[in-house]
Symmetry: C2
């Protein structure tokens, strides 16, 4: 059990950690810090922690585990601010979607005696903010840790046990490897989804209305991904540029081949690819990372228009 | 109520029509025809109809409504085969994802006195075959009809009432307009999803295993779309080439701009797009075409590895 846990940032991920840690009894005291007073008020109203402050330096005081849960672009400034206030022996971690950049900008500020163990829970929804979090978010999902060489194994073990307590499976790898794997599993898919939804948004108004109306198949799924937090994703692309451009390059090469197959009417090439891809989904279901239910288990026959103001 | 309904093809869509029509009492007799004897046996075992035959000409005999539910590439041959056996006054329709091509290849074979009203229910899942269908599939989904000019309004009305009986909303438009709207809402998203899953499938084996393992975010959703029926989708791209290439061209132009924004680190451009796209999803939810639940309402915390052999 952690004596004092400090969460810097309390959006979807931070608030899910707070809820999960509270439910599983993983931390005695939870300190919550975020820059905006309204967000902090929201966290307080939800009863997510024990200590609430807009001052990150105050939140980390005496904390045994500090987790940065704000967008990656804010990490460097936060690291500078909290560094002098970190307790010797404390573990400093994060939940950012890129890891090489985090090591580069946070690492140099970590004082001797503090254990820096970057992390990334592969979990989330398209919603954001403190009220979007839930205690089950990390269950049966992977959390990747990227401890720099020479990190104290005890600190890695403590953090690993914390994530397992939240329901996660934990795996360690190098930051560079993490960033390449995530570029293709997450970053390029998001870029492509944002792009296609943008293409639709640029259509003439009449066509656009019809696309929204008739969005049942395919496009609708892309809009979920493209509804993810804009600032978080801006930061991902600003900080994992090389791996994203490398994987995007492969994707575009392949798409040129496919475009040509459509143009020349090469049905055999199309059918071969479409058969191959089906097997990949089966592997993901077999790996326990996806529901086998059709259409994600999405409700059929009872989708109702949302209440005004709900999201 | 239709006296005799004939379904030519009994996969996900055909079997969902059969189940829905039976449940709602829309047809007195349902004749089911499919080319492969095993598929017909499966349909019979499921009790989907009243008459079962591998001979489409026999199935359409005396039928008041004939719906082609096989892949679009099979339509021309089927139209030739059934044309002499269609009852005068019968309605001939289909469920194909492209409409211009269907008008071109089926239209010329339709005998005088038979009403040809092409249709396309915008509904489906990534599963296929007779057992994948369910009666709720069309509820609250759109069905687009593309009657050629001069079609008997009574026949359009009868078909429209049939689809409304299955729970659908019905709208009529021209085949060309349908094909352009569907190219961007459905065909290009499928092409892109197939492509990215193919890119992953081409990665070195080690990386590929990790991508599958860590597929939680983004990529996992694409694999659902890319698990759709290969033959059906081959036919879509072979028969809606011009509209697909036009929309793919727009998509690629936009992607080049986005690629450049990533390369030069233009955070403002990225954030602006990512904010804009969020609004599109809200419109789809407001239009009642999507669940407001996070992550499609996908189960969290209880995804279990699938049973071997289940899909």
């Amino acid at each position: 059990m952690i004596e004092k846990l400090a969460l810097i940032g309390i959006g979807l991920i931070g608030s899910s950690i707070a809820r999960g840690a509270r439910r599983a009894g993983l931390a005695k005291t939870i300190a919550i810090s975020t820059r905006r007073a309204e967000t902090l008020d929201e966290a307080r109203a939800l009863g997510l922690g024990d200590i609430y402050t807009t001052d990150a330096a105050e939140a980390v005081k005496d904390a045994d585990l500090v987790i940065l849960c704000s967008p990656v672009g804010s990490y460097e400034a936060i690291a500078k601010q909290i560094a002098p206030h970190l307790k010797p022996g404390a573990i400093l971690s994060d939940v950012g979607s890129v890891k090489g950049h985090v090591v580069d900008v946070v690492g140099p500020h970590v004082p001797a005696g503090v254990h820096f163990v970057p992390g990334h829970p592969l979990a989330g929804t398209e919603h954001s903010g403190p009220s979007a979090g839930f205690a089950d978010l990390f269950e049966n999902r992977w959390c990747v840790l990227t401890p720099p060489e020479g990190t104290d194994p005890g600190a890695v073990e403590t953090l690993s046990a914390f994530w397992k307590g939240l329901g996660s499976n934990v795996e360690a790898m190098s930051p560079g490897h993490h960033d390449m794997v995530l570029a293709i599993t997450s970053h390029v898919p998001h870029l492509v989804a944002y792009n296609i939804v943008g293409t639709v948004d640029d259509l003439e108004q009449d066509t656009k209305s019809e696309v929204i109306k008739f969005s049942a198949s395919g496009f609708r799924d892309f809009t979920r991904i493209a509804a993810s937090d804009p600032v978080m994703w801006r930061d991902v692309f600003l900080t994992n540029r090389d791996a994203v451009l490398e994987m995007l390059g492969r994707f575009l090469e392949d798409l040129s081949v496919l475009q040509r197959a459509v143009r020349v009417g090469d049905g055999e090439a199309l059918e071969t690819l479409f058969t191959r891809t089906r097997a990949v989904r089966r592997s993901i279901i077999a790996a326990g990372q996806e529901t086998a239910a059709p259409d994600f288990g999405r409700p059929h026959g009872d989708a109702k228009p949302a209440e005004p103001g709900s999201e």
